[in-house]
């Protein structure tokens, strides 16, 4: 670091200059080889488990104990996928999960965009304190709120209104979708604080003149937001929707807390190994004889295939939005 710029400004003879260029070129080449090696290596680490699962999903039963097979199976079969889908009750499960996740994602995106815009563009008494509280919601671990939230939704009763009208002690909302819907609609769901932060940073960076023009043209606050600001906020919207969708889809914390009995993929996957062990002998026609056990390696194969089925929708979704997502980082709203 002690090298100062002026050392290199000294006029060099032509021979040296050529040498220098050759040296620069080779070091550039070496560097780019090194870079590709690293990037390909890390990509391999990321993709390897995925490839392994895909390979397992199409592998015939005969191939389990064949050590000469690497990745590409000898006996292609769709049986594993069929069996795993049967064990998981896949299609109804998927439809249910997608409906639930889509609704909560939309509610989260709307409520967080509103809150982010409110914090970015309006000053009202205590607005800074309230924004600090948004950050606080990110910092406090969810497990701290777990027990009160559970009890709260067990006897759901805001301001005693249910008690006042019906005389009952509140409604039990556990094992319904309401707890997640309510938290999502009030910008309090999974990592909602982070999403509010992302939106706020983005809206802060937008020119004020657009809004003023809309105001002069007679648009009200909400109209300006819906017609002018939101259409311009596509990139943070995609980021938030993707993250919210994915995290909700993968979430086990809230879903096992509030709706442990609901058919959701994240809950099903966690119990998949036990279930596969129990169900596979039956499905393969051994009857419900409890003494019968399926080959553990075969069960592991089915579990792997099941995991692949569970994450497949996310991968397909990602393939579609990945371009917008990566671009949105480029013109990022994340940091602002």
């Amino acid at each position: 670091m002690a090298v100062s710029g002026t050392d290199r400004m000294v006029v060099v003879p032509k021979e040296n200059y050529r040498m220098q260029r050759v040296r620069n070129k080779t070091s550039d080449l070496l560097y780019s080889i090194f870079r590709y090696a690293l990037i390909i290596g890390i990509s391999f680490i990321i993709l390897y488990p995925l490839f392994l699962k895909i390979s397992v999903a199409f592998k015939g039963k005969q191939d389990i104990y064949n050590p000469t097979i690497y990745m590409i199976p000898q006996h292609f079969t769709l049986d594993n996928i069929k069996l795993a889908a049967q064990v998981m009750d896949y299609l109804p499960l998927l439809a249910n999960t997608l409906l639930f996740v889509t609704i909560t994602t939309l509610l989260t995106a709307i409520s967080c965009a509103l809150a982010g815009y409110g914090f970015a563009r309006f000053s009202f008494p205590g607005s800074n304190v309230l924004f600090v509280l948004v950050i606080l919601t990110i910092l406090v671990p969810t497990s701290t709120l777990m027990v009160p939230m559970y009890l709260h939704f067990r006897n759901f009763d805001i301001l005693g209104m249910v008690h006042m009208f019906t005389g009952r002690e509140g409604i039990n909302l556990l094992n319904t979708y309401w707890p997640s819907m309510i938290t999502a609609a009030t910008a309090g769901g999974l990592k909602a604080g982070l999403f509010i932060y992302i939106f706020r940073q983005f809206f802060k960076g937008m020119p004020k003149e657009i809004e003023e023009a809309a105001l002069i043209d007679g648009a009200g606050g909400f109209r300006t937001f819906a017609r002018i600001m939101l259409p311009n906020a596509i990139s943070p919207l995609i980021t938030v929707i993707l993250f919210s969708f994915v995290w909700q889809y993968n979430d086990t914390f809230y879903s096992s807390l509030f709706m442990s009995e609901s058919p959701l993929i994240s809950l099903k996957v966690a119990s998949l190994p036990a279930q596969a062990n129990q169900l596979i002998p039956q499905l393969m026609g051994f009857g419900s004889n409890s003494g019968m056990k399926a080959d553990p390696n075969y069960v592991a194969m089915i579990v792997d295939t099941g995991i692949l089925l569970a994450i497949a929708p996310l991968i397909i979704l990602y393939l579609f939005v990945q371009r917008y997502f990566v671009e949105s980082i480029e013109r990022s709203g994340v940091v602002g």
């Binding site: 009160p148 909400f222 914390f253 980082i329």
Partner: protein
Amino acid sequence: MRTLRLSLKSRRALLGLAFISPWLIGFIFLFATPLLQSIRFSLSNLSVAPGGYVLDFVGLKNFKDAILVDATFNRILVDSVGAMLLNVPMILFFSLFTATLLNQKFKGRTMARAIFFLPVILASSAVAAAESAGLINLMGDISAVDSSAEGGASFNVLSIVRMLNDVGLPMAYVDYIVEAIMRIYDIVSSSGVQILIFLAALQSVPGSMYEVAKIEGATAYESFWKITFPMVSPLILTNVIYTIIDSFAGSPVTEAIYQTAFKTQNFGLSSAMSWLYTLVIGLVLVVVGWVLSRRVHYN
């Protein structure tokens, strides 16, 4: 509105409140109230009664129980804080390195980025649970485990250890590096969001600064330490805090708190445990934040 004769300023204030009102309602009823309740629960003995619950005030007994009586809690707490302190530097180093790499121009950059963010999509505690159960519990016989391990780790770790030791690195560093290498998949898969944040930060560094540095004859190494590093340093703080918080998600402590509440029905003890956890994490955040923010360069 006109009849109320509000000034533009207060009308804007009301509009702002209207925008944040969904969040505000949620915050009051679903965050602040439970938070206060949780403090009350941690100081009480909670028993579920038909149609509600009964609280008996017991003072700090739950906290004492959590630290002194519970067989595993204090060990789990210390372990996971220790693991967190080890993980954060690794994840941070890896994500800054990767972000710098992905920010350079090369063929296939878009694809590389898409692949590097894939772990954000696939990181799921449910999948991880199913995977570990699938491998350990079900692959009963040793031969199967052997054959399945063959693909992954066929290189010899010992040779690396010996090599690094010969170079003259202290054993503690060698351990750290080897551990990082062995857990590379975990590190890669938990640094997606951090890479994203760093990448966004790198993009906001004006390119003209690098041009000037190049004309002045700075090497890539120098321009990294003199330009890139100071420019992204505020985001290092953000990333440290994010990583620490992110390590809550699937930690054994959270699991222990959950088990105490819903398996043994000891809600008071569980609340006390979660408050101890919150306080420890809060303390770590304050210390780390204080140390780092003194070194951060803001422009």
